[in-house]
Symmetry: C2
Subunit: 215 residues, 2 copies
């Protein structure tokens, strides 16, 4: 499958590299076509790895991942505009973290709205799916790294798109996947960030996750 | 130990009954000294169970539990005033749920403040501890009912009070208890309510919990 990755940070690179290893073609998008870290990443990852602008990556993908910092994501999505995203599954991995008041960050949007919903509003034809945003990127691509595998949540308005993303999640090793419902459920998963950040501080590492235990 | 329980709802009664069974003396507090459900509960639970006003229960307890609806908790605490709570451990089990906009509820306070912090401000000498608020009351008193036992969080400003509450949690069967830090960490645990409510809807029952899986 052709996958567009918007964002050349640690999350975008980790997921992009894993998707290439799984046999997908990945185009990494950034602000400029000649972004240095995207070019380096593409050079290192062979023929199935390429770099381009955000719009190039969105245009390229049959699925598009948003791995952007929460505070710039909506600006990037709006500047690219809905057209390159078309009616594709757009997987929003970002969180609305606000570091402007210091550590720990608070959320810029929460409770009665979410970043996932705002992305869906900015891209009305796209099938926005919120997932993977509740774990560190090492766990995203290797859920068993947490010892016991955590639960992964996803939500979005389109069932077929969610089925496709579920298949992709399974290919990353995820086995306990819960579909929470429509994109408004992004509120629930983005609001896991405060406990995630508290636990990072308490446990002193990022290789943990949340398992929904039930009878 | 003498335990004061403020709130005669399902949570207060479930915890109160369990504490009596564990050999503690429990006074259930409500708005009026002759509350019918509190009187019934006391009659049913023997010599170690009693009923009284909110102030009576707070005065009675060496530890005081707040098992009130989130939308009335601060009013109750302020109307009782700090004196009966003294410098005791006050365990806040409530959540700031706002049902006024329909289902699912949102939170009345979150992100940069929490109900736990507001209770601590209302009772400056008390040692407020937030815990148990992230599971249904059946799980509170029987954590293994979730199949695998979930993780329980607690937070508060006083280490000795947290140690005492940890001992009490252990007596309920909790084995994986994480101290998140001071009372501001209530934000993190109260913000678990949206995912809890989503999961209740998705799973169709309330006997689940969150296990922090880590290597």
């Amino acid at each position: 499958m052709k996958i567009g990755m918007l964002g050349t940070g640690m999350v975008g690179e980790t997921l992009g590299t894993k998707f290439v290893q799984l046999g997908h073609q990945v185009k990494m998008g950034s602000r400029t076509a000649n972004n240095e870290s995207a070019a380096k990443w593409a050079a290192k990852n062979g023929a199935n790895a390429a770099a381009g602008t955000f719009a190039d990556a969105a245009e390229f993908g049959e699925m598009v991942f948003l791995c952007l910092k929460g505070d710039v994501e909506l600006d990037v999505v709006r500047s690219v505009g809905p057209k390159p995203f078309g009616g594709k599954p757009v997987i929003d991995v970002s969180n609305p973290l606000d570091f402007s008041r210091g550590m720990p960050p608070s959320l810029t949007i929460c409770n009665t709205n979410s970043l996932g919903e705002e992305v869906q509003k900015a891209l009305p034809s796209a099938k926005v799916i919120k997932t993977l945003n509740i774990v560190n990127c090492d766990i995203m691509i290797d859920p068993n790294k947490a010892g016991t595998q955590p639960t992964m949540f996803l939500c979005g308005n389109d069932s077929a798109a969610k089925a496709g993303v579920t298949t992709l999640l399974k290919s990353l090793g995820w086995t306990d996947i819960i579909d929470l419902g429509d994109i408004t459920k992004s509120r629930a998963t983005e609001m896991l960030l405060p406990i995630w950040l508290s636990l990072m501080q308490t446990l002193g590492h990022v290789h943990f996750g949340f398992k929904v235990v039930r009878p």
